[in-house]
Every structure is written in structure tokens, then in C-alpha cells.
Symmetry: C2
Subunit: 422 residues, 2 copies
């Protein structure tokens, strides 16, 4: 059982080109109700974390999004670049919203949150979770976080390893000790190490041998067969451990985060932030900490049993919508499946169309997903694995099996003078 206070940290960033034009620069993925269930991914992330938090969760986001983040989380206005504390979930813990002066990748954002937590409670454990991932199994998530906190209190940087449901080439993988070594011999270690490993196992975690970047399909298939797990980018660690280890890897980054935290809430807050933040190394936590610490045996993995999806493109989103309907069962599906309302699933002609948003549609012989942000009538004939996003200023029609190519097309908007559409 974990003993030290737990503070969730939610970096909310990302340009979100892979879900354009649903997501835009001014309205990235985490602000959207992607699945049409009445809550944004950010709101659902905080709702998932709030019951596990001992202190107000910290959301770190860009200045452009702070107003919308605060509005969605019911947080007050607060200082422009400070933190606003308010109730996130009607009587639940308040949420602190930190505004980054500029995007510097995930390590500076998490380090800043860690430094603020460390300043107030040096032994507190933080858990960093992306604002825009989908997890349905709240209980499984809570169990995994509890185990990760136990392991973090042993001094490890702890990551949650997701059980793969397919040999995905879109995610990185985690190799933990006790699994068959893949491509490298497992490290042989001394007795002190073995004792530490046993302590980890006692709390349900295992030492991480290495992190592997997104593999090709053949490698991914070997990884899945060998029991490797997906790296979902979730890290649980004592705030002071994170900063001390970061100080060993990238000293200026740790010192900078601690300098900003020290000035936080003082008259020097704004000046310090504006001066120090731009100097912080823009780097992901995976490269800054997770990979080098894994080589030192300082990273642990908790095998997680909950479902997880980063909803990385329209193909993933289409899968999620269908998986949700499958979970909700045949009974509720049948009720929404009349010939006049194909949004719930299969129609009389075999159509299988999901609708998210305000669109009224009719479909013949089609398997498609429609995101309707206008009130136009949408008619589909003979489509197979197509996603359609209908917004006031842009329309996307995309074959799900080419979903990854979308970012190329969105990348062209600026050079075409259509940056206003991003």
C-alpha cells in the first residue's frame, strides 16, 4: 500500500495533425469529445485521476489553451501563467492549471510540475498521464497506479506496461526482466540487484531492461510473442527522484525547473518563468530519463491489465467507436439500429456507420465513421472503411487504412497559405 501523497500530472499538448480537421491548433485533441459521450478526453482523464489523487492534479498546457482547459475543468481564472485551483468535478479535488510560455516537449512540463510538488512535499509521488488517451477500465487503471506508487516509493521511475492487443507498429515497446530477452542478452546482476528486483516483484512490478522505439511489423510480432508490452508514456515517480535523476542527465533542465518552482507564488514568478523557460531543453521524458535510467536498472514496469488507446489517428478512433458499441452490448445497439438511424451500427442493408456529432445521415452499403460538426445532411453509398469529417470550413474524406498519411496533407496547409485551417 502506498504511503506518500500522490499528485497526478497531466501534460496537455500536441499539435494533433492526425485528427484534423476535428482537431485544430486552437482546439487540440485533448479538448475534444472525440467519441461523442459528453466529455472531452481531458475531462475524462481528470475524472479518471481525481479519485486517485491526494493533492490537486496539475495540468500543464500551452498558453493558447489555458482558458479552454480551465473552462472545461471548472477551474478559475487565476494568474496568467500561474496556477488556478478550483473544483474539477463538482466537489472533488481542485485542479491546478500551469501555462507553458512555449511548447518544449514533455520533459520540461513534467519537470516543472515535479518541482512545484517537490517544493511543497519532497516525498510526494507524481504520476504523469497524457491528457488525450482513452482508458475505459477505471478499476484496472486504479490498481495499476497503486502498484506503480508502491514501486515509486522504492525509488524507481515506474512505467505502466500495456498488454498488446495486436503487433502494433505505432507504439514503442517495453522489455522487462523475467521475460525472454529479445535481441539482447538479459543483464546478469549481483545480489543487491536481485534483492531490489525481489522487492519490486513483491509490489507487482518488474525491472525494465530497455525501451524499444516503434518497430517494424516483423519485430513487433516477435515482441508480442515474447511478452513485451506497449509503452503508453505513463510514468509514476517520486518528485525528488525525478529531479535528482534529471539533474544527473541534463543538469540545466532540472535546475531550471527548480528555479521556476522556487519563484512560483513570489513577485519574481513571471520574470523567472519568462527568463528560464525558453532555456529548458526541449526533449521528451522517454529520451531524457526513461531510456538512460533503464540502462542503469532504475526503471520499473507495472504490467497493466486495463484497455488503452492513444487514439492516434482516424483508424484508431473508428476502432474505438466500434469497441465501445461492442462493450455497450447488443441490446442498446439494437435500439439505435433502425433503418432511419444507422448511427448505432449495422443497418438493414449491412451498413455499419458510426456518427459522432450533429450530422443527420443515411447510408447504403457502407462501413464508415462520420464526424459531423455542421447540420448538413450526409449521404453515403458503397463506402468501405472511410472516415468523414464535416466541419464548417473544411471537409476530410479519408480511407482508414491510409490514416497515417493525413499528417502530410495537414503539413501542406501552411505552405499553401491555408494556415487558418490548422
Amino acid at each position: 500500500m502506498p504511503k506518500d501523497p500522490f499528485v497526478p500530472v497531466v501534460p496537455a499538448g500536441g499539435s494533433g495533425t492526425r485528427l484534423w480537421p476535428l482537431s485544430r491548433r486552437a482546439r487540440p485533441k485533448f479538448l475534444l469529445d472525440l467519441t461523442g459521450e459528453g466529455a472531452s478526453l481531458l475531462q475524462r482523464t481528470l475524472a479518471r485521476l481525481a479519485p486517485l489523487a491526494d493533492r490537486a492534479p496539475i495540468v500543464v498546457t500551452g498558453r493558447a489553451h489555458t482558458d479552454e482547459v480551465r473552462a472545461q475543468l471548472g477551474a478559475g481564472d487565476g494568474a496568467a501563467d500561474g496556477d488556478a485551483s478550483s473544483a474539477a468535478d463538482g466537489g472533488a479535488l481542485p485542479v491546478r492549471v500551469l501555462a507553458e510560455p512555449s511548447a518544449r516537449n514533455s520533459m520540461p512540463a513534467i519537470a516543472l510540475a515535479a518541482a512545484l510538488v517537490e517544493k511543497e512535499e519532497p516525498r510526494a509521488v507524481i504520476g504523469s498521464f497524457a491528457a488525450d488517451h482513452l482508458i475505459e477500465d477505471q478499476e484496472g487503471f486504479a490498481r495499476a497506479v497503486a502498484a506503480a506508487r508502491d514501486a515509486a516509493e522504492l525509488g524507481y521511475l515506474v512505467t505502466l506496461g500495456i498488454e498488446p492487443t495486436s503487433p502494433s507498429t505505432g507504439f514503442g515497446y517495453i522489455e522487462a526482466a523475467g521475460e525472454e530477452a529479445v535481441g539482447e542478452e538479459a543483464a546478469e546482476e549481483g545480489t543487491a540487484e536481485q534483492r531490489a528486483a525481489q522487492a519490486l516483484r513483491d509490489v507487482g512490478a518488474r525491472p525494465v531492461v530497455r525501451f524499444v522505439e516503434k518497430p517494424d511489423l516483423e519485430t513487433a510480432e516477435r515482441f508480442v510473442a515474447a511478452g513485451l508490452r506497449w509503452n503508453a508514456g505513463m510514468f509514476v515517480v517520486r518528485a525528488s527522484v525525478l529531479l535528482d535523476e534529471l539533474a544527473a542527465q541534463i543538469p540545466g533542465l532540472a535546475a531550471g525547473a527548480r528555479e521556476i518552482a522556487a519563484a512560483h507564488g513570489t513577485p519574481a514568478e513571471q520574470e523567472t518563468l519568462e527568463r528560464v523557460w525558453p532555456q529548458l531543453t526541449a526533449i521528451a521524458i522517454d529520451h531524457a530519463l526513461a531510456e538512460p535510467l533503464a540502462a542503469q536498472g532504475k526503471v520499473a514496469m507495472v504490467p497493466a491489465a486495463f484497455d488503452w488507446d492513444d487514439v492516434g489517428d482516424f483508424a484508431a478512433l473508428a476502432r474505438q467507436l466500434r469497441a465501445r458499441d461492442a462493450r455497450e452490448g447488443a441490446a442498446s445497439k439494437a435500439a439505435a439500429d433502425g433503418p432511419d438511424e444507422p448511427s448505432g451500427g449495422g443497418g438493414a442493408d449491412g451498413s455499419d456507420v458510426r456518427v459522432v456529432g450533429s450530422a443527420t445521415i443515411d447510408a447504403l452499403s457502407s462501413r464508415a465513421t462520420v464526424y459531423g460538426a455542421t447540420h448538413r445532411y450526409i449521404a453515403l453509398v458503397g463506402l468501405e472503411g472511410i472516415s468523414i469529417v464535416d466541419t464548417e470550413d473544411a471537409l476530410l474524406v479519408l480511407a482508414d487504412d491510409r490514416a497515417q498519411e493525413l499528417q502530410t496533407l495537414v503539413g501542406r496547409l501552411d505552405e499553401k497559405g491555408l494556415g487558418r485551417l490548422r
Copy 2:
């Protein structure tokens, strides 16, 4: 060489559900510039016929469309249900626009036009051509019409037989004598018949053995192999012959058309039209005249060499747009084929996208046709044989190879309370 005056007749009707939402009840196909060349199908039909006409062409259309037809053809306002004569093409022949009180299929429309022509010049030859078909080869068309007029002056109902470019199951076929009989033995005829057939051959026509309705694919392949031709619904005939033969088939229809024509231009015009028109048998000219007269040896066919398409659905329209680009040659295509402007054809990534209308698009790995009636930006990824119609109140996304199914979907609009979209 034909001697009698020639009057083109253009029935302009049709509900146009197969090109919805491009075509609507209030704006059927013939009023549209489907290929984005700056002229509607109706305007292009009249431009094709004007040089061949000895008298003002007659357009017969529904009351709902007369204003737009007159506007497009530069015709004056005229009497509500009478004819308005005006220059169709800047100094060319004027056009007469007749308004049908209600839609009664093609035979009443053509019979009324024939009766008006007959009343003024009994020996005049009329030629009936749909308002919404595409023909590019003006010279070939003119040659075929001249031959058809020769044959019509011999007393025949003359049709133009289009050389098939594929074993289409979407068109009816014409079997003419001298071709191998398909499924039936060729009729054996006496000497007088043989002389008549020779006279026909002397003007480049042949007796028609029979008309065949849309066949299945196997039959269509046999037809094409045996030299049968497509029935494009084009008929050339002396006005008095048409009405006399119609009087033998459906007496009331011929008499009614002649009664309306007799009252035309008199104080009784409107009363007669309103009283008689609703009693006219609603029937297509194929069933009313062409099929029964073919059985009597009174129909001739002129083998036509020009291209023709009825642009019956989005698949046909997509083919036409590509055929047009092929005709216009690689040089002009190349100029429009930069990566920023895929509307002319293949892009750098192999995309082949045609754009008709105002849309700005970008495409990756896509073969598609876009009809953009809004100013939204349209992005396509990974599409294969898709048509997209983007209008203010309705969006269609359709697989070209399922194009015929669209009418089912459009047919549902009324029952769904969305008749305003038709």
C-alpha cells in the same frame, strides 16, 4: 440531301435522383454545368442543334423550370404556358419554350411539339434529342442527323444508333437488319420491302428489327459482339408521320396533341391546354411508337459514329470528366498538374482527382471526383473511385461502382421528412 425543314425538339425533364445532390427537383440535371465548362447540358444541347435547325428549336419543359430554361437560353418571358421566341445563341435562331402543365413522360411532350410544327409546316421533320446528354463530336452528330433527315423524308421513324464502347447494361440496344440476328431469326421480307430497305441503305440507314430493353451483362456482351447499337432515345421523323402513326397506336394522345396545337395562339389556348393535357397518356416514345413501329418495319436506324453519354450517374460523370481530359491532351493536363492543383489529373503521389466547382482541394493517394458547391477546403486521403458532392445543405460521398444505388437513398428523403433536400 434532306429537303424539308428541320425543327429540333428538346424534351427537358427528369427527376435526376441519380446525380443528387448536384441535381435537385428544382434544378434538374439539364440545367447544370456538370462538367464545369461554363455551359449547362441544355445550353450545350441547343448549341449543338442550332446550326442544324431550319426553324426555332422547341424546348418542352415543366412549368417549374420554364423561367430558368428561358434565362439560360436567352429566351423572353412570353406567355406563361405559351412559347417565347428569342435568340438562343446571340444572333442564332430563336428558341421556343413550351411549358408542360404536368409531367406526362416523353410522348405527350414530343407529340405536342410535333403538332405545333405540323400545323405550321406539315412536311417538316422534327428531331427529338434529350436536353441532358453529352456529345462532343459536333461534326459526327451533324452527319448522322442529316442522314436521319433523309431517312425520315422516306417516311420512317428514324433513330440514331450509337456504337457501343462497352457492353453496358444501363442502355437499351437496337438491332437493325443486315446485322446478325440475336436470339430471333431475321425477318424475311418481300420485294417491295427489299426496295424500301435499299432506299434506306442509299441514305446510310437500315431498317430496325427490334429494340431491346436494358440487358444483363452476358446478353449485352453478345449484343456488342453481334453489332447491336445503343438506343440513345434520339428520334427523327416527319411531324405528320409521327402524329399519324401515333393516332393508329394511341388515338386520344394524337388527337389531344393536335387539339392543343390547334388552339395554340388563340384565346382558347390556355383553357384547351389545361383541359386536354391531363388526359394525355403518360408514356415514353419508345413504348408508344418506336417498339410497335419497329415490328411493322417502319423504323430505321442511322449508325452514328459520334461519342455519346447520358451521364446517368456519378460513375458516368467521373468517366466523362476523365475522357474530356484525355481529349484535351497531355499538354494542357500537365499545366494543371502541379502538386498544389491536383484538379487536372494525376499528382506527384499518383493521385487522380477531378474537381468541378469552387472547391479548393488537396489529395493524397486518391482517385476521386469532387463537386464543390461551397467554399470549404476539401482534403482526401487514400480514396479509390469515390465521388464527393459538397453543397450547402447536403454532402454525398459515394463509391462510383455503387453509383446506381444512390436513387434508393434519395427516394427515402421524402419519407424521412427531408423532402426539402430533393
